[in-house]
C-alpha cells in the first residue's frame, strides 16, 4: 500500500518575542500528535534538523524591520504553498511598529551607544505588506487553540473557523459584567477581535487590544466615549497605539488624538 506523504510544516521567525511560535510548543497535550500528522521540516526553536523546501505550510512569526527580513520573507513565500502569518507582529507590525511614528535615529541613540553598527528599516510592517498571505492568526500572543484549528483545517482542506467579531460579544456570551459600564474602566473590547478567551474583563480589567481590530470597528465612537469618560487625549492615543499600533483602524484612531 502506498504511504501518503505527510505535509511539511515550517516555522519562520522575523522581528518578534518568540511568544507566538512558543504556542506550538505550549500545545503540551497535542504536540506529539501534531508532530505525527506533519513533518516538522524547519522549526529552529525546537530542532537542529532541517528539511529543504518547498513547504506545504509555513507559519510566519514576527514583523519586517530590516532590509534582510524584507528579502527573506520573499524567499519564504516562494518556498511555501500555504503561508499563515501568526501574531500581532506578523499581522500588524507588533509593538515595534511604534517606531513608525518616531524618528528612528533618535530611537537608536536611546538604546545603543554606537548607532553606526545598527542596520534597521524606518518601519516595522506586517508580512502581508510584503508578500501574499493565505491566512492570518491574530493575537499578542496567538491563542494556541486557534493555531491548532488553523493547522487542522488546512490538513483537512477546509477554511479555519476563526471568529472575526468583537470581544464585546464574548463578554455577553460569558455573562461577564461590562467593565466600562459597571466600573468606568476604559476597554477596547467593542473594537477588538475576539480570540483571547475573554481574559481581561474576567479579571476586571479593560481589554487592551491584543487581537487587533475586529471586522467592523467603530473606533471613532469608542474614542469619543473615552473622551467623555475624561480620558485625556494622550492616554486615548496611547491606548489605541500599542501591540497593534499599525493596524489600520487603530492607527487612524490614534492619529485622531495626536
Amino acid at each position: 500500500m502506498a504511504v501518503q506523504k505527510k505535509p511539511k510544516l515550517a516555522v519562520w521567525k522575523f522581528s518578534s518575542c518568540d511568544g507566538c511560535q512558543l504556542q506550538l510548543l505550549s500545545c503540551e497535550d497535542e504536540l506529539l500528535q501534531v508532530a505525527g500528522a506533519v513533518d516538522i521540516a524547519y522549526f529552529l526553536e525546537a530542532t537542529r534538523a532541517e528539511l529543504p523546501g518547498p513547504y506545504d505550510v509555513s507559519l510566519v512569526e514576527g514583523s519586517v524591520t530590516t532590509p534582510e527580513e524584507a528579502e527573506r520573507i520573499r524567499k519564504v513565500r516562494k518556498q511555501s504553498k500555504f503561508l499563515i502569518s501568526i501574531g500581532a507582529c506578523a499581522t500588524a507590525g507588533g509593538i515595534q511598529a511604534l517606531k513608525n511614528y518616531k524618528d528612528v535615529d533618535g530611537f537608536i541613540d536611546a538604546v545603543y551607544t554606537n548607532p553606526e553598527y545598527i542596520e534597521t528599516l524606518t518601519t516595522s510592517t506586517a508580512i502581508r505588506d510584503h508578500v501574499d498571505v493565505d491566512f492570518e492568526l491574530r493575537g499578542c500572543p496567538i491563542n494556541k487553540y486557534q493555531l491548532l484549528e488553523a493547522i487542522n483545517a488546512l490538513l483537512n482542506g477546509r477554511k479555519p473557523n476563526i471568529p472575526l467579531h468583537s470581544q464585546c460579544i464574548e463578554c455577553k456570551r460569558a455573562g461577564s459584567v461590562c467593565v466600562m459600564v459597571a466600573n468606568g474602566t476604559p476597554c477596547l473590547g467593542p473594537v477588538t477581535q475576539a480570540g483571547c478567551g475573554n481574559l481581561c474583563p474576567s479579571f476586571t480589567r479593560g481589554c487592551y487590544g491584543c487581537f487587533g481590530p475586529n471586522d467592523t470597528p467603530n473606533t471613532a465612537a469608542l474614542g469619543k466615549q473615552f473622551a467623555d469618560m475624561d480620558m485625556d487625549e494622550r492616554s486615548i492615543k496611547h491606548f489605541f497605539r500599542s501591540f497593534n499600533a499599525n493596524a489600520s483602524a487603530f492607527r487612524k484612531e490614534s492619529e485622531a488624538h495626536e
Binding site: 510548543l25 505550549s26 554606537n114
Partner: protein, 454 residues
C-alpha cells in the same frame, strides 16, 4: 520517584565523544552553520583558527533591534509591565515584575504579604515552564546526539510526555494567577488586577505534588548523561534574599564579594556596544566579565535550597558548587523541584487578600527592579516625570549580560576540542551556547556558525 526509574535510562550516545580522536589531516578547514537551533532567537558564531590557535571568536546576535527603551519614553508608568513583557514570550514575568518593582520603588510603595506570595508563586510557574522547556526539549537532545526532543519522544516517549506535562503545570500556574502563560494579563504595578479565587488556586495542589516527583525523576535521568569536562572560574552574580532562595526579590551579590541594593546597580554594571552584535555586552565597571543564571544562583545560594532539592542535587551528582555549565541542565531540574515545592507551600497557605493591589499615586521618581529570570538577573531602571510618565528606561536582559562569558566559554571549549571533527566541534559549540538557555529575543536573537581554520 519510581517514575524516574521507569523511564528508560537515557542512552549515553555521547555525541561529544563519538568522533573524538579523529585526526584532522588538513591544517585549513572551514565550517559554516546557518542558524543556531533550540535557542530563543537569532544568533551566529564565528571562529577563526590558525595553526590550532584561535585568532578570533565571536558570538554574534543579529536579532533585529526592537528599541523598547525608546518606545517607553512618554508612556505612563502603568503601561510598562505590559509593554516590556513583549520583549520575551518565554520569560515575560522577568519584565513585568522587574518593571513593576522599579515603578513601585519610584512611587514609594511596597508589595507585601499575600500579594508578594502570589508574585513568588507565579514566578515559580515561569521557572517550571521555562526550565523544563529548556532542559528536556532544547538541551537534553545534545547529550544524546539527537536533533530534537521529537526524536527523543520516539526513543523514550515517557521522558518527553512527563516533561510536557510538567511544563504544562508551570503554564497552569501562570494561567491561574496571571490569566495566560505568555504575556499574562493580571500583573500590574502594585500587585494584580484581581486576586485569584482560593478554590482555583487550590486546584494546583495535586498537580504540584505530582510535579515534585516528576521533576525528581527527570533530574535523575539527566544525571546519567555524560558531561563534557569544561569548567571556568565564573564570577557568579545573582540575587540573594535573607529569608529564602531568591527568585523575585533580593540584593545583588556575587561570589567575589559584591553585595548591593538593586538601586545601586548602575554604579557597578555597565554595557558596551560592539560591532558584531545587536545586543549590548554586559560587564562589571572594572571591565571584568561575569555569569548570571541557574549555576550562579546555585553557587551563591545553595544553603537556602530545601532539604529535598539538596538531596536531589546530590543524587544526580552535583556538589555544593557547580562550575560545569553543561551540568546546568541538572541545576535547572533541582530548581524545578524547588519551585514545585515552593509553589505548593504558597498554594496550600493561600487566603484571598482584602485588596488585589496597593494604591498608587502617580508622580516623579527614579526606581530600579530586578528578578531572577530563569536565565539570570534581569535589571530595570526607570525615571518618571511629575505625571508618572516615563522619561528614561534602561533594561539589561540576562543573555546580553552573559554574552562576554559565552564567548569566553566558547574560546575555552574550542581550544580544548580542536581534535574534534568540524561537525562535532560545531555541535559542541552549539551545546556550549545552549548551556546558557540564551534568550536572544531578550538580548535583542540567529546562530550562524562559521569557523575558518588556517
Amino acid at each position: 520517584m519510581s517514575k524516574g526509574k521507569s523511564m528508560v535510562a537515557a542512552k549515553k550516545k555521547g555525541n561529544a565523544k563519538s568522533k573524538a580522536g579523529k585526526k584532522v589531516v588538513s591544517s585549513t578547514r572551514n565550517i559554516k552553520v546557518d542558524a543556531l537551533a533550540r535557542v530563543e532567537g537569532e544568533g551566529a558564531l564565528y571562529v577563526r583558527v590558525k595553526d590550532d590557535v584561535i585568532e578570533d571568536i565571536r558570538f554574534r546576535i543579529f536579532e533585529p533591534p526592537r528599541f523598547f527603551e525608546a518606545f517607553l519614553q512618554g508612556r505612563i508608568y502603568s503601561e510598562a509591565p505590559d509593554i516590556t513583557a513583549r520583549i520575551c514570550g518565554i520569560c515575560p514575568l522577568a519584565y513585568q515584575m522587574g518593571s513593576s518593582q522599579a515603578m513601585e520603588q519610584a512611587l514609594g510603595v511596597q508589595v507585601t504579604g499575600t500579594l508578594r506570595d502570589l508574585r513568588r508563586l507565579i514566578y515559580c510557574g515561569e521557572w517550571i515552564e521555562s526550565h523544563v522547556l529548556h532542559a528536556a526539549m532544547l538541551h537534553a537532545p545534545d547529550f544524546l546526539g539527537l536533533q530534537d526532543s521529537l526524536q527523543l519522544a520516539k526513543d523514550d516517549p515517557e521522558i518527553v510526555k512527563t516533561a510536557l506535562r510538567l511544563k504544562k503545570l508551570g503554564n497552569e500556574i501562570l494561567e491561574v494567577i496571571g490569566g495566560r502563560a505568555a504575556h499574562p494579563i493580571n500583573m500590574k504595578v502594585g500587585g494584580f488586577y484581581k486576586a485569584p479565587r482560593k478554590e482555583s488556586v487550590r486546584t494546583l495542589i495535586e498537580p504540584l505534588k505530582w510535579g515534585i516527583g516528576a521533576a525528581i525523576g527527570l533530574a535523575k535521568v539527566f544525571g546519567t548523561f555524560e558531561f563534557p569536562d569544561y569548567e571556568d572560574d565564573y564570577q557568579c552574580v545573582s540575587l540573594r534574599h535573607p529569608d529564602e532562595y531568591a527568585i523575585h526579590e533580593g540584593r545583588i551579590i556575587s561570589n567575589r564579594g559584591l553585595d548591593i541594593a538593586v538601586a545601586e546597580y548602575p554604579e557597578h554594571f555597565k554595557e558596551t556596544h560592539i560591532a558584531h552584535s545587536n545586543a549590548l555586552h554586559g560587564m562589571m565597571m572594572d571591565g571584568s566579565i561575569y555569569y548570571t543564571g541557574p549555576n550562579a544562583r546555585y553557587n551563591n545560594n545553595y544553603a537556602q535550597l530545601s532539604k529535598l532539592a539538596k538531596s536531589v542535587a546530590k543524587d544526580c551528582g552535583l556538589g555544593k558548587k557547580c562550575n560545569n555549565l553543561y551540568q546546568s541542565i541538572l541545576v535547572r531540574m533541582v530548581e524545578t523541584v524547588f519551585a514545585c515545592e515552593e509553589a505548593l507551600r504558597i498554594v496550600e497557605a493561600y487566603e484571598e487578600p482584602d485588596a488585589s493591589c496597593v494604591t498608587i499615586k502617580p508622580g516623579p521618581g527614579i526606581g530600579a527592579g530586578c528578578t531572577e529570570a530563569p536565565r539570570g538577573i534581569c535589571l530595570h531602571r526607570y525615571e518618571l516625570d511629575k505625571e508618572g510618565r516615563i522619561v528614561s528606561a534602561r533594561i539589561q536582559a540576562p543573555t546580553s549580560q552573559n554574552q562576554p562569558q559565552i564567548e569566553r566559554d566558547l574560546r575555552g571549549v574550542v581550544q580544548g576540542n580542536l581534535h574534534l571533527s568540524d561537525e562535532d566541534l560545531k555541535w559542541r559549540c552549539e551545546q556550549t551556547i545552549r548551556n546558557y538557555d540564551p534568550c536572544i529575543s531578550c538580548a535583542t536573537h540567529f546562530l550562524d556558525f562559521s569557523i575558518d581554520r588556517e
